[in-house]
Amino acid sequence: MENTNLKERILEISGVNPRKCMKCGKCSGTCPNYDEMEYHPHQFVSMVEKGDIEPLMKAESLWTCLSCFACVERCPRSVEPAKLIEAVRLAVIRQQGANHLKPQDIPDKLDEDLPQQAIVSAFRKYTK
C-alpha cells in the first residue's frame, strides 16, 4: 500500500535517498543481525522507496537492529540504510503512548554489572 505522506516524513527524518540504491544486497549480507530481522536493511530501502511503510512500522526488526553502522559503512552507494531504520523507528515511537520501552520494565532487566550506557542507550533508541 502506498503512503506518500509517511514516505515523505521518513525521507525527511532520515535524509536518505533510497533511489541511490543499486540493489546489490551488500548491506544485508554484512548485517550481523540478519537472522533476527524479518525485514533486512535492503528491504527497508526498497520498501520505503515504494511507500510500503506500514509493514515496516510493525516489524520486530526495528527493535533488533543493533545500530552497528555496518550497513552504512559497507554500502557502495552511501545509501545509509540504518538511518532509514531509525527514521521508521522514530515514526513509531513519536506516536503517543507508543514507547517501546517503559521505565517499569527496567528493574527486571538489571544486574549489578550492567553499565548505565546500556540503559541510557535503550531509552534513546526505544522511547520519546
Binding site: E36, E73, A87, L90, Q117, V120, S121
Partner: protein, 262 residues
C-alpha cells in the same frame, strides 16, 4: 600537553576502572586531562534523525565548552566518542542543524564543529606517539597475547570517525606492541558484539558476543581489550568462552607501572 576531557556517565559509575587507569596513565605520560566543568550524558547512541535537535544538545554543550577552553576534547568510552564525533560532524556540515541549535541555545555565534574530538587511543598514537609510549613502559607485558576488540563505535562510519581504516585497523595492535605484548589479529575484531541487544533480546547479545570471543580464542588470545563499557559487559557476562576482558587503559597503566597507585 593539556586537553579537555569528557569522561561520560558510565565512567563515573560501572566503568570507573576505564577512567581511573586512564588518568593515572595520562599523568605518567605528562598529559593533563582537564575534566569539563559541566558535562552531561551524551545519550549513548548517536541520534541519526535530521529533524531532532534536543537529543544532540548535551553533546553540543560539551563541544562548546571545550571550544571555550581552547582545547581539543578527549574521550575515553567508545560510545561517547562516537556520539560526540558524529554530532560534531553534523555541526560542521549541516547548516540547518547549526542554525536550529544556535537559536535554541541563544548563541551569539553559532557553533560550527570547531572543536577537535580525539579518542585517548588517538592521543596516544598521534599526540604522544607509540615509539615515545614504548620508552615509558617500565613493565613490558612480554609474551601476553592480547586480542584488541574494536567493535563498531570507534570505527564506523569511517568517513566521519576517521579513526583508522574501518575494515583493517591497526591502532590497537600497534598500541599492544608498544606495551611489549603480542597482538592477536582475528576477523571479528570489528564486527558487532550485539551489546545493544542485551536489554531487548539477550539471546542475540549472547550469540554475537560468543562468536567474537570464540574467534579471538581460536587465534590464541589470552586476553581481550576494549574501550567500550558495554562491550566489556557483553563479552564478560553474555559470551561463553572465558577469555578475560579488560579495558585498554588497565593494561596501559600496568605497563607504565602505575596500576597499583591508580
Amino acid at each position: 600537553m593539556v586537553y579537555s576531557y569528557y569522561p561520560g556517565c558510565t565512567l563515573k559509575t560501572k566503568a570507573k576502572d576505564l577512567d581511573r587507569y586512564a588518568r593515572a596513565s595520562a599523568a605518567a605520560l605528562g598529559i593533563e586531562l582537564q575534566e569539563l566543568p559541566d558535562w552531561q550524558c551524551c545519550g549513548g547512541v548517536y541520534p541519526m534523525a535530521k529533524d531532532e535537535i534536543a537529543t544532540k544538545l548535551s553533546s553540543v554543550r560539551a563541544l562548546l565548552s571545550a571550544k571555550e577552553q581552547g582545547n581539543d576534547l578527549v574521550t575515553m568510552c567508545s560510545a561517547c566518542h562516537n556520539v560526540l564525533k558524529q554530532v560534531n560532524h553534523d555541526m560542521a556540515t549541516d547548516e540547518n542543524i547549526v542554525t536550529k541549535v544556535a537559536n535554541y541555545m541563544k548563541l551569539d555565534e553559532p557553533y560550527r564543529g570547531e572543536t577537535k574530538v580525539i579518542h585517548f587511543l588517538e592521543l596516544l598514537r598521534d599526540g604522544v606517539g607509540f615509539d615515545e609510549l614504548k620508552k615509558h613502559v617500565v613493565k613490558p607485558l612480554k609474551g601476553v597475547k592480547i586480542a584488541p576488540y574494536y567493535g563498531c563505535l570507534l570505527l564506523r562510519p569511517g568517513k566521519v570517525m576517521a579513526f583508522d581504516d574501518p575494515e583493517n585497523p591497526a591502532i590497537m595492535e600497534n598500541f599492544i606492541k608498544a606495551l611489549g605484548a603480542e597482538p592477536v589479529v582475528y576477523a571479528m575484531r570489528n564486527e558487532c558484539c550485539g551489546g545493544y541487544a542485551t536489554l531487548e533480546k539477550k539471546a542475540i547479545a549472547e550469540k554475537k558476543a560468543t562468536a567474537v570471543m570464540d574467534n579471538a580464542a581460536a587465534n590464541g588470545a589470552q586476553m581481550m581489550i576494549t574501550a567500550c563499557p558495554l562491550c566489556l559487559y557483553n563479552l564478560t557476562k553474555n559470551a561463553q568462552g572465558g577469555v578475560p576482558v579488560k579495558y585498554f587503559t588497565e593494561v596501559l597503566a600496568e605497563a607504565l607501572g602505575v596500576k597499583e597507585e591508580a
